[in-house]
Symmetry: none
């Protein structure tokens, strides 16, 4: 993952800075170290959970449905996760890591600042399209696991804040409260994703929408040499 150096800027910089754990999957459960096969079963359960939680929501989803989707017996579930809530939380953490990764990679693809910014949002929206579960699971987390939900937003916000602060320091964008900007940006992305991906059941957001959003944000950040 290359980071954009030198041209430090707002959004792109931000997305590039999220701290991402490098060893994603825990390989032990309650002390047991997982075998190859165990690892695979665990992965199958997580993936099944993403599908099922995404499609049905936390409450309609049931352990039976998840284990069925994963092709294992009901009891097997509890060899890998201590509860329904536990796998849910793990899923949020997992998706959080992956979306931040996607956004970083996206932002890094831009060479000019405007492009980078646009790519960051585009990556987020693309991830949303590919993983509608992210959006839906996050909404469920509100009640299922508020702490995890908060952590999710805080981690993304932290990345934004760091990037925005650097950009401010370098005079690339207007001086402002970086945290407010961070939450505003996340919110904008979330609802645009909801409107043009989820509701439209589209596999991607129309380019023009991404452009409009990026332009709005660019202006809002008071970016010099912004979009256009």
């Amino acid at each position: 993952m290359t980071r954009d150096e030198g041209t430090g800027n707002g959004l792109a910089a931000g997305t590039a800075q999220w701290p991402i754990e490098e060893a994603p999957a825990p390989t032990s459960v309650e002390g047991r170290t997982l075998s190859r096969k165990g690892e695979r079963t665990r992965g199958a359960l997580l993936e099944a959970a993403e599908q099922v939680f995404g499609a049905l929501g936390y409450h309609e989803a049931s352990i039976v449905k998840i284990t069925e989707a994963a092709g294992v017996a009901q009891g097997t579930f509890y060899r890998y996760f201590s509860s329904k809530q536990a796998i849910f939380e793990e899923l949020v953490v997992d998706l959080n890591r992956r979306v931040r990764h996607a956004m970083s990679e996206g932002a890094a693809r831009g060479t000019t600042r405007a492009e980078a910014e646009r790519h960051g949002f585009a990556a987020y929206l693309r991830f949303t399209a590919e993983h509608p579960a992210l959006y839906r699971i996050i909404r469920q987390a509100e009640f299922v696991s508020p702490a995890t939900l908060r952590e999710h937003y805080e981690k993304i916000a932290a990345g934004y804040v760091e990037g925005l602060r650097r950009a401010m320091g370098e005079g690339e964008i207007v001086e402002a409260d970086a945290e407010v900007l961070a939450y505003a940006l996340m919110g904008a992305g979330e609802l645009v994703g909801m409107r043009w991906v989820l509701w439209a059941e589209a596999s991607e957001v129309p380019e023009v929408v991404v452009d409009e959003l990026a332009a709005f944000v660019s202006r809002g950040l008071g970016a010099r040499n912004g979009w256009e």
Copy 2:
């Protein structure tokens, strides 16, 4: 409700334009017309539902809890609402009407455009603080009643779009896709509300946060003579 005339502008104009039904409370159930007492019972149930859904979420909320909170017997519930889902949906519609009303009123309080804009957001954030249920119930609606959720956002967006288009026509703000802007604005408000009202368990958003948000939006809309 005074509307800003002549100086039609972006946000303020938008918030001022939401079409709001003036006769809010339905007064009949399944054809029956409600007596005074019935009206009161129904109101108590709705209020209790707002508290309970807001505090526990749709699934943890139960009819027993709602009726207990309302001080009526379990069976009484079904004289006024046909199901748990039904009262939930009614609640969304109700809150939607009230939040739009609050935003309109807020926006109308501003005399200059910048003030109006700021007041619109402030009103929304104040409403969120007073009715945390709005935010939480909306999140639940994702799975409980997607159509109602969508309607909620679409109604608010429609108000924004109308106002933004007018402002564009009058050259007050930059020419852009009004719908994209609308969803971006809603998202920004929603997450800022989540961060500074819900998480902070504050009764209001710090003034400076409102200012920062308004400034960001003002710049993003390319408002002439904007905030500052």
Copy 3:
């Protein structure tokens, strides 16, 4: 209602002998004497109950449905009947009286013995077709009010027994246990009615079926100069 005298015979004689109360509708409830209007309301409730119990069965039927069908308020029901079970029992008694009346009248229409017999069954089957509720309500009575059910069959059986005994005395039919014959005849009629009226949803049993049934019974009773 003419009774067959002189030519005393089996079935026809039997059907003609059921003791039928002549003043059918009780005109007071819990001491209250019913006004004209009250009488009408009570009748409407009974009729509605016949429809509803017949269509839905005892348990699916509800007081609300009955009162709705009768066009009165829920509470009004309890001014005329003390409980759901009470109106059900009254209905059984009522239908019992009416079916016995119908059978008597039918039987009386026959001039020869064979005709009379045939007419008795035909009348029963016609009544079944016009009042499917009879059959269905009787089946429900098994658990709802066993005593009433038993009374229903015993009353019909009593009529048969009396007629059969007389016919035996006059040498018209074979000497046998009249009660066994009575229950066999009732059972035969009931299931034929079920098969050719209820299942066929027909408004009457095909003539040929009535003929076959009458012939079987005629032979079974060892009737001299019977059917043919």
Copy 4:
């Protein structure tokens, strides 16, 4: 089970001919194959259901009562039957198979035609005495599961019809509509059973009653060399 060959006749032939599946108990639920223990639990539930439905009727019977009677937890019920209605229907099918089996066996015990006929009815009445649930459950089926009810009668009738037709062909009984006769015979047996088993709470029908019934039927069928 020996069948009467050569002397093919009416009732006995009929009862002897019911097609009876030889592998009675389904051993899998929703695709799952039942373990030994599972099989036992399932059986216990069916037996408990027979008792409870028989004693209380469909509606008064509750899953709690059934599971209590079977000595298992409430939830266990749903591992074996998908609903209250489902176990009810299974019960009807089960009882139907068993009563037809009993009747066949009974009829086969007769050597002369008159004996066989008598044994068929006697077997039916004995079964009724041992399984009052049959009678009571059938009556409930009217509303609970009309299709199953109909199937029950049709299967028994089919056996009768086949036997009666053969007997007619061989000149043993009078030529007549076999289906009408079948329903008449079933009805006669049913009500005699109700009167002398259920109401008398007797463990068997008095011999004389069986004799009388058999004689009536014998005459009704126009049997040559009939009873006596």
